[in-house]
Amino acid sequence: MYAFAYQRPATVRQVQSALGKHEDAKILAGGQTLLPTMKQRLAQPSALIDLGHVAGLTAIEKKGRNIVIGAMARHADVATSELVREAIPSLAALAGGIGDPAVRNRGTIGGSVANNDPSADYPAAVLALGATIVTNKRKIAAADFFQGMFTTALEDGEIITKISFPVPAKAAYVKFPNPASRYAMVGVFVSKKGADVKVAVTGASNEGVFRAEGLEAALKAKFNPKAVEGVAVDGSNFISDIHGTADYRANLVSVMTKRAVTKALGK
């Protein structure tokens, strides 16, 4: 690791001001991606602003028809939250499948969403559930938030404070983990609310998380795993690497969608 300055502010306002003071400062949320990168000397932030002691970022609450999760809620907290398990069990299950138990005890939802790793799990849920990302400055709809791999609508000095998830009627997440890293090689989050169906796919595309519109149309017509069968998945911009070519990933998108629909139907 290269040397850096370390700051541990107590309020979001202090975080913002600390970010303003250091060029190349990075926010340290759970650190489960950032710290390994820094250990390899592949990142050299001048300062780390540790959110660990900022008040009010860890709450998980029910607000109206939404579940609102603080940015610093750990994956393990979301996975075991009675509130989340009751209202959006698919989200709790997703959180319970990120990384491994020790990683889940450090990693945070805000960190994952802000990073927008193309293989991360949370972005699929945020997009498929039509969540709203709340920052210290504004509210951003999921559809506007993710802008290609590792790119989001967040501006300099903007900090995610919480994420608000509308409660779906039915939803499920199924992922196919990369055999080595266990990141999602393909992860599909399917949600249904009234006539609306959303299918968000992570892990597959060079563009990061995306909505699979062809699959959505088929599932809107009939919310049934069989409906997925005739739908071609366009893999032309999919990731192709030693673990899986684009066409294999395209197949996995179909299979995981089918399984997610089956799971969402409680079968």
Binding site: M1, L28, P36, K39, D50, P101, A102, V103, R106, R182
Partner: protein, 158 residues
Amino acid sequence: MISVSMTVNGKAVSAKIDPRTLLVQFLRENLLLTGTHVGCDTSQCGACVVHVDGKAIKSCTTLAASCDGTSVVTIEGLAHDGVLHPMQEAFRENHGLQCGFCTPGMIMSAIDIVNRKGHDLDEHTIREELEGNICRCTGYHNIVKSVAAGAHAMAGSK
């Protein structure tokens, strides 16, 4: 340099450290608690697992500075007055280790599994919950047996 204070294995410690000091470095180099190991660079092998405020974390992927004010337990803090923790005993009784390098992390993770999942653990659950700990010697067969036995023994020792 920044100051950190924490409780490690029941003892208060404080030190001035470079901010880039990882918790595992702080334990191994500052406190000479070398039972916590480093086996990879990408936080996957789990040789470095310790408990911070009662939860298993990877000490190679956590800054010591972030642990200011916490209570840390390492493999050296499990046995009391020469009496092994039931999970340590279970690993010995079931031959759950060979070279011993991954063992401290395995035992710390195993105790965490019991804390979260209870004392009656089936094989499938144990195998899934050990996702973050890699062993190259045992083929996991005896580790799985050890964790199940240790979980039962922990119920008895309460």
